[in-house]
């Protein structure tokens, strides 16, 4: 086997030193009744068989450009410059471990320090961590962090119903074994969160709002944070489409205390939903309550600038039983990809690209409206929006799929009152003719 360098000669010599009669003998410390005596029942392929097997599997998925996929909803198709997969595949970057030994990990460390900084700038926050698993778990951890900041005395968090439904599901899962409560905030007719009920919650630790929200609508974070702060609660905001912050106000400037979300849009392939990137940032004062890894700047023996993993006291290594975060492996390589993307696109580029995304979405929205479709929520959107198609659209949906067009996702399973409502997305990868074709098909 090409990955296993041991020759029979090597094995004989090593067994001799190890004092074992044969390979089996090495496992003598395992009681016989714990030993598996059979052979693993697994297929085995050469590199070439694997190639064709995987190509076959991969060919069974509907991807752009063969299919025109108008789905966003937490995973966005953006162009990724060829430089990023190229650089990320440099094995000193991709095959390194967590940088416990800073002297030979300055590449990873400086890169992640830069990632933290760019992320903080993107979100308008003071400090970002080295990454969380994804947007959903990041939100769950953000809410737990908010409760921690409040010393666990306030036990309720209010979460907008326009937070991505799967994120809300994950929050529930994380909250189940605790005695903390989640209150869901309803939404208004314009497609934004109704925060009017917040005052009624007695022990409110935090309010969580997503912007742009699940319907693509831009929330009024300022109102939410003002209200939260008035109630002595924290304002947590999340996002699924960070490209928006190339165009709209970032959450930090609107008073958010903790900001988290999914960074996949920043140069990371969709990969059927993962690996993505949990971006996570907060105000400086909360940093010691923050979950996840942090890279900090320091100096070496010669006074030279260098970077290290820091504030590890929050972690498991030091005070096992008191650890507040169990995060070890995070999404380091995805954070690196996104840093490469942010560095490549720059301030000038992100504005341009965000504007193009906005233009495409607005074009599609207006064309669908012209074609007689209903746009139920009038609020300004970024990259995606809700359409109400004529009754019985399910059949048309199936037809469109046969024609290699995937016109968004149906919302009914997440919002039972939104029958025939679909969430559609158009990024820079969707051409005018793709959109015109969709509109034509929908109309016909």
């Amino acid at each position: 086997m090409r990955y296993l360098p041991h020759t029979s000669e090597d094995i004989a010599e090593m067994l001799k030193v190890a004092g074992a009669a044969d390979l089996d003998d090495l496992f003598s410390s395992i009681p016989d009744d714990c030993r598996f005596k059979g052979e693993l029942n697994l297929p085995e392929m050469t590199e070439w068989e694997l190639n064709s097997h995987m190509a076959d599997l991969a060919s069974q998925t509907a991807v752009m450009p063969e299919y025109k996929v108008f789905i966003g909803a937490g995973s966005y198709n953006h162009y990724i410059p060829a430089t990023i997969p190229y650089l990320i595949n440099r094995s000193e970057i991709s095959t390194a471990y967590t940088p416990y030994q800073p002297e030979i990990s300055q590449g990873t460390l400086q890169t992640i320090f830069e990632y933290q900084t760019l992320t903080a700038r993107l979100l308008g926050m003071e400090t970002a961590n080295a990454s969380m698993y994804d947007g959903a778990s990041a939100l769950a951890e953000a809410l737990l962090m908010a409760i921690r900041i409040e010393k666990g005395k306030k036990k309720t968090v209010a979460v907008s119903s326009l937070v991505h439904p799967m994120y809300r599901k994950a929050v529930e899962t994380y909250f189940t074994p605790t005695d903390f409560k989640i209150v869901e905030l309803p939404y208004l007719a314009d497609g934004t969160t109704d925060i009017s009920g917040l005052e009624k919650i007695g022990d409110l630790a935090a309010v969580a709002v997503q912007s742009p929200n699940f319907f693509g609508c831009i929330e009024n974070i300022k109102s939410a944070s003002d209200k939260a702060h008035n109630l002595n609660a924290l304002c947590v905001t999340c996002f699924t489409e960070p490209l928006a912050f190339g165009l709209i106000k970032n959450p930090g400037s609107q008073g958010a205390d903790i900001v988290c979300g999914e960074g996949q849009s920043m140069g990371i392939p969709q990969s059927f939903g993962g690996p993505g990137l949990g971006m996570f940032a907060s105000l400086n004062k909360y940093v010691r309550s923050m979950p996840g890894r942090l890279i900090g700047q320091t100096t070496d023996l010669d006074g030279k600038r260098g970077f290290v993993l820091t504030l590890a006291t929050r972690e498991q290594h030091i005070r096992r039983e008191k650890a507040t975060s169990n995060i070890c492996s995070n999404q380091g390589l995805c954070a690196t990809m996104s840093a490469m993307y942010m560095a490549s696109i720059g301030q000038t580029g992100i504005r341009q690209l965000a504007q193009i995304n906005h233009d495409k979405t607005e074009y599609l929205k207006s064309e669908l409206e012209k074609a007689g479709m209903q746009i139920p929520f009038k609020r300004a959107v970024f990259n995606e929006f809700v359409v109400k198609f004529p009754q019985g659209f399910e059949t048309k949906y199936k037809e469109l799929i046969k024609n290699k067009i995937v016109p968004g996702i149906p919302l009914e399973s997440y919002y039972p009152d939104l029958k025939d409502h679909y969430l559609l997305c158009a990024t820079e990868t969707i051409s005018k003719s793709d959109m015109d074709e969709l509109v034509k098909e929908v109309k016909s």
Partner: protein, 473 residues
């Protein structure tokens, strides 16, 4: 060569990306929402490429040399698996495609679960956890849900002193208080210790097996029996599975749930700290509680099933780190029954190192080990040379240091895991390097105190970094 921070480079007006042409008219964003673009530096493409090329040159990776980081299983990461993950049909797949448009990805998940169950001897699996610690948490959520279903609320959990570091934190996220269980002088857990600690308020035990001393928990069956008899559940931290593939089936030794680290045992790259993947395999009893959705097969077709009333819910927005699953799946198919051979070689190499270094390094538990062995710096105490000094010096010899000061149960621990992909020649060179260092420790200790000497930076002031954190540039 130095390389400045990104924002110390660049000049406004450059752009390292190809901006797509727009084929629609521009629409302005409502003034109310319009903000300033983020303060990113503007760089050209070659600036970016050179920046990260330089970054990579400051790093050590598996392709650079031996990376004997105990408990991390830094084995070779096959390039072919990267190729599979980059296939447009995978990399470009939207997670919310209708099942009929994503049969390939669903089949992959379905089959990977099957293979992981075959390897662990368990009955069902979830692929959602995004890392090992996420898998631990998932397992604890499953325990919590199962006990609740049984009508019980237990608030403690036993954790041996030879368990992995993240276990207590994962448990506490589920409201379980960690109860430490001491290993015996053989370095393993005694059934008696467990019998004393286990009670009806205790949810069960989190055992790392092989444990972090590199020893197989030989009493595991008896321990599981004790825990089960008291109504508890047994979790196995499977981070060290690389020692026992095809040799021990966890399902047959009393384990109820085990998480696997695909980025360790199944060769997916560590990425400088992730993404990994931490699937959890469970018994039939725990299966109903697994996260949703689950990939199921119906006739010849695959679909995502949500309808599990007892499910703990979701722990990831979608299905976990699918791109990592692809790599692990490819690895399993490439290895087949060689997975057992890999475990055999991993254990052979660890025992070989143990025997070769025993004369010069103190070996606290002198018995056959599994895939890693743990030494200490006791012999070097007279020279005031610590574990840290020795391993920093290893860098000058071209090796990544082993894991150090862990497990906590061993003072000054040096935990060496060679893995199955290091050749005897590499291992011999490593042994020789360590022997030289031990010699230097008494003869020229300043070499060690000043090590490393050939790296980009010398020893860094970690205390200062924590005292006055500078986390953002």
């Amino acid at each position: 060569m130095n390389e400045p921070l990104l924002w110390e480079k660049g000049k406004k007006g450059r752009c390292g990306i190809s901006i797509p042409k727009s084929d629609v008219k521009s629409s302005s964003m409502d003034k109310e929402f319009l903000g300033d673009p983020p303060d990113f530096p503007d760089l050209s493409e070659v600036d970016v490429v050179r920046h990260y090329t330089r970054m990579s040159q400051w790093n050590f990776g598996v392709d650079t040399g031996m990376y004997p980081l105990g408990s991390c299983t830094m084995k070779y990461n096959p390039k072919i698996n990267e190729k599979q993950a980059a296939l447009p049909g995978f990399a470009g797949a939207h997670p919310m495609l209708p099942p009929e448009l994503s049969q390939g990805t669903l089949k992959l998940m379905y089959d990977l679960e099957k293979y992981l169950c075959e390897i662990t001897g368990m009955n069902a699996a979830t692929l959602q956890p995004a890392a090992g610690a996420h898998g631990e948490l998932t397992a604890m959520l499953l325990f919590h849900a199962c006990l609740k279903k049984r009508g019980q609320k237990r608030n403690k959990i036993l954790i041996p002193d030879t368990a992995h570091g993240t276990n207590p934190a994962s448990a506490s996220l589920c409201g379980f208080k960690s109860i430490p269980a001491a290993s015996n002088e053989q370095g393993v857990l005694s059934p008696e210790t467990v019998a004393t600690l286990m009670d009806e308020d205790t949810a069960g035990i989190m055992v790392t097996n092989p444990n972090t001393l590199g020893l197989f928990e030989e009493n595991i069956k008896k321990i599981a029996e004790i825990v089960h008899n008291k109504g508890g559940l047994v979790y196995c931290d499977g981070a060290n599975l690389n020692a026992v593939m095809g040799i021990v089936k966890m399902g047959s030794i009393g384990i109820d749930a085990i998480h696997l680290n695909l980025h360790k045992t199944f060769s997916t790259p560590h990425g400088g700290g992730g993404p990994g993947a931490g699937p959890v395999c469970v018994t039939k009893e725990l299966e109903p509680f697994l996260p949703v959705p689950r990939a199921v097969k119906k006739g010849d077709a695959y679909e995502l099933k949500y309808d599990y009333p007892d499910t703990i819910g979701r722990i990831h927005a979608f299905y976990g780190n699918f791109g990592i699953l692809i790599r692990a799946y490819s690895y399993i198919l490439s290895m087949g029954k060689n997975l057992k051979t890999a475990s055999q070689y991993a254990v052979l190499s660890a025992n070989y190192i143990k025997q070769q270094l025993k004369p010069v390094l103190h070996l606290p538990y002198d018995r056959p080990c599994m895939h890693e062995c743990v030494f200490t710096d006791k012999f070097q105490e007279p020279y005031k040379i610590t574990t840290l000094d020795m391993v920093k010096r290893l860098m000058d010899y071209g090796f990544h240091p082993p894991t150090i000061y862990f497990p906590l149960v061993v003072s000054g621990a040096i935990m060496i895991e060679p893995t199955d992909t290091e050749s005897k020649e590499n291992i011999d060179e490593f042994i020789q390097a360590f022997k030289n260092i031990v010699k230097e420790a008494c003869e020229t200790p300043e070499l060690l105190k000043n090590a490393p000497s050939i790296t980009k930076v010398r020893r860094l002031d970690e205390a200062a970094a924590a005292r006055k954190p500078c986390l953002c540039g």
